[in-house]
Symmetry: C2
Subunit: 194 residues, 2 copies
């Protein structure tokens, strides 16, 4: 047959698509080099030339076209912004997302596990900072600066719930926002009234 042989970015994109397909169909634990090779219509040797481990291959496929996974929302209120952020993150970290992240974190490939930790922890505080600044400008929060550790609280609690426990429902998100995050931010920013 007119055997066309792919190269470079075409091939790489086909492999990434095959990895995603296998992840969705079978999950991280059951994903194999042989399955990906078959799905991509290539051979194992082609995969091993690119990535030393399954974890590295999957991580590359996840971070391929740098899809900014979480955007800072702007709904007009502190509670609205935090709720929206946790809602978006909840979708991202549930189901297959959790499976892939935990799979890589518990894999024997320590290098890729480290990269994954970087990926899911890096912007914890920075994604929340603009929300707090706008709330402060609106008068919803006081003017004392909020420490980075506290700014990271929403994403820290989200990770704990979605990656380690289970998918959050709206009530769980509301509880985190209303019982923990907002009261703490109000206190630390120097605003007394509820």
């Amino acid at each position: 047959m007119g055997a066309t042989r792919r190269r470079g970015e075409d091939l790489e994109a086909a492999i990434h698509a095959a990895v995603q397909s296998q992840l969705m169909e079978h999950g991280y634990a059951a994903l194999t080099f042989e399955g990906v090779a078959a799905s991509a219509g290539t051979s194992k040797a082609v995969l091993y030339r690119r990535w030393p481990t399954k974890a590295a291959m999957v991580f590359a496929s996840m971070t391929d076209k740098d899809k900014a996974p979480l955007a800072t929302p702007d709904t007009g209120s502190l509670v609205g912004d935090l709720t929206q952020l946790l809602h978006d993150g909840n979708e991202l970290f549930s189901h297959r997302g959790r499976d892939i992240i935990l799979g890589i974190l518990s894999d024997t490939d320590e290098d890729t596990a480290w990269s994954m930790r970087e990926l899911i922890f890096r912007r914890s505080a920075e994604i929340v900072r603009p929300i707090v600044e706008r709330a402060c400008a609106r008068g919803e929060l006081g003017t004392h600066p909020i420490p980075t550790r506290a700014l990271a609280l929403p994403m820290d609690l989200l990770r704990n719930e979605t990656l380690l426990r289970r998918k959050l429902d709206d009530a769980g998100i509301g509880e985190i926002v209303g019982v923990c995050v907002v009261p703490l931010f109000e206190t630390l920013s120097g605003r007394d009234a509820g």
Copy 2:
């Protein structure tokens, strides 16, 4: 040779010891039925008669002689109690502890993963409640009841750090206690002054 053949609790204890030994030496991912059988001086069939999966076998070994893993400390101060609790939990969830917990959570054995979630989440709030009650009695906190979600905050943040990120140092523990937990407890309990 005088081939002595173990049974019942003797055998079970030897298997649990072999599992622990293999976990310490190779970690969860590299632990195999064949390795455990060899280490325990028995055969795979004996293991499969007892546990259907590696996750179930390891979980059974972890929860064998119900070693109450975390006790509520009583140091005489709110900050001291919380610091001690996080310090103890930090040791428990680091190194091999993290490896085993994440390994089981990301395993294909969903039943055992569910049991593990129960194990590490069940007492999150209850372990902190006596600490808060004593602090309230001392006058360190106000008298408003603190919601369960907030009581779980110390263990939730500990899990996020130690299981997903890395082992905490004393500074990290101090930050969680001083920047997040104590200010929130003070606010929610109705105590204003720092």
